[in-house]
Symmetry: C2
Amino acid sequence: MDGNSNLPQDIVRAIRSVVGNGPLALHEPRFNGNEWVYLKECLDSTYVSSVGKFVDQFESDLAAFTGAKRAVAVVNGTAALHVALRLAGVQAGDEVLLPALTFIATANAVVYCDATPHFVDSEAQSLGMDALALRAHLNGVTEQRGGHCINRNTGQVIRAMVPMHTFGHPADIEALLAVAHDFHLQLIEDAAESLGSTVGGRHTGTFGLMGTLSFNGNKTMTTGGGGAVLTNDIELGRRAKHLTTTAKLPHRWNFVHDEIGYNYRLPNLNAALGCAQLEQLPGFLADKRHLFERYQSAFADVKGVRLVAEPAQCRSNYWLQTLLLDESNANQRDAVLTVTNDAGLMTRPAWALMNRLSMYSNAPKAPLPVAESLERRLMNIPSSSGLLSVMP
Amino acid sequence: MDGNSNLPQDIVRAIRSVVGNGPLALHEPRFNGNEWVYLKECLDSTYVSSVGKFVDQFESDLAAFTGAKRAVAVVNGTAALHVALRLAGVQAGDEVLLPALTFIATANAVVYCDATPHFVDSEAQSLGMDALALRAHLNGVTEQRGGHCINRNTGQVIRAMVPMHTFGHPADIEALLAVAHDFHLQLIEDAAESLGSTVGGRHTGTFGLMGTLSFNGNKTMTTGGGGAVLTNDIELGRRAKHLTTTAKLPHRWNFVHDEIGYNYRLPNLNAALGCAQLEQLPGFLADKRHLFERYQSAFADVKGVRLVAEPAQCRSNYWLQTLLLDESNANQRDAVLTVTNDAGLMTRPAWALMNRLSMYSNAPKAPLPVAESLERRLMNIPSSSGLLSVMP
């Protein structure tokens, strides 16, 4: 396929045909509900900090929305990943399988456990961890010994895998669960980007041992900063709450802690914002899906690029709308980024693959042909749920 | 000295003579300033998350208030300690000197660096780390080798010390700095409790290499949850900002991180609250000093107990008002706690000494006679800055 030499201008035109001239951010939050009411109520109660009714309500609302048996609110998505990995038994010297194509938090959380990330490839349809390639890689480099999956090259235990639902598109979680089962790995879902995304009607983050969410300001809904651990194991949920609240034993006045815990509590103030946002989430999701449909029409005739759609049997939250340039146009990626950003339409490329970062350049990894291709070709375009509300 | 068998009732009477019948919390925040205005402005701007003008303003206001050259806002005091220890060069296998009488965060932050806390004694006047006892202990158990302070018993490097300004009363920081200098130790001040407390007119947290603050809901002022790193070293301040913001390199669109960093950003929403609170801090401090004076009169005639006053040449923020029972009345501590709490006057004892907690029971330690005595005799009484505003 030949390159499209008008691609940057074609992309600007297609985006503007949907959302207007801009300037437009990549993703902005919307506060059209009870945000102000709940924040005021929180302030008036004086319970703005580490305990309060909004924390309890946010946790129970999150559990209800996702269908998880327990949701534990924490200070951000990175903290949620750290605690989930600890509770999955990840310990010093272990390896943890991650997509090379992910945000830095997924890899850093592994290091916080004194473990090593082991990067694997993605597949082009879902943008998530490739189950087939992963199985082939593990067959090649691991052996089972004493019920553990051992990396023959490093001699270390591969303890867990952390698929990430990229830009809200669900990874092939059922196939990944089968690999985890066959290789005796724990599976933690990094669902930071996929609140509202489902696989066969079931919410992402509820398939593995635990799942993690993020409510950073750039996400589909926000608490300012915040995150959550999801689990269907009530005892693990209790342990997550204990570990994230300094592992203090309940007592009328004594301060006794029974293990090394973390101060990962979500303040009640931020939970108040979260309760208001969660009420509006179904509307945000509908608007984001509508935006996808409009973009899909607009990009149908643009040569050399495709808009990423949700995988079969899945519903995506369409957190960040994603364009993939054809390979023949990959060399125009930086030109497209320059022209769109210069035009006031904020766009961004994929994260640098984790294995390219200096601190992870020696980490174990599988061949990464698809992740490398996606890195060359991928970009996100303006995706806020409110974009169409100002357009006809 | 004989015991006072009416002590519980005497204490209830003395507290009530100052602050009324209750019920009273140990410490409640006050929101009488621009909290509403700034939170609303923050929400309306949509910048509620990890960047925004309130974060910048809060950092510059904190630097101005404390006199530190740089303040970096972070997600809580524990995160501030963790980053300060990392920047002080604390690494796996090191030991860090801490008071046994402290909140769990001080010790846990050391463990997050894969280092070991080494507990030392406090002194009864300031309730802080005892410089004389520390010097004697270090003379006994350490030797200098290659510019490092080595614990002869464990063979490990003692890298740093973290004095904590207990309940807002400044530790003997000048004497502790001299010990740090003589034994080649970095000194980080845990000033979580001492915002507004000064030594010879200089703010606590600005004497050591770095200092750390907390704005948890129970503190003199609050951001819901939050903290800060203080330093007079501009380069260290820059490093603290980089490490706490995921170590991302600035770029128009690229996502490249150059070291293992942390997601320790204070959300703009919480910083907005902090800006409003900081404006009121001088008033909070004046009210807390006034409360101390009123308690001092009320307890002057109560036998068997004394109210802790600020050390000489220091000003305390009087965060938590503190009673010390005489040794002859120490056996009444739990009775006093029971009677006061039953009466609706919230009181609490000292934290369990760190060396008593299961996870720290094998950590290296100095003799702890004073900390053990304080643990037996100490309690905090209702201390909110607003208590007198409802009294004549």
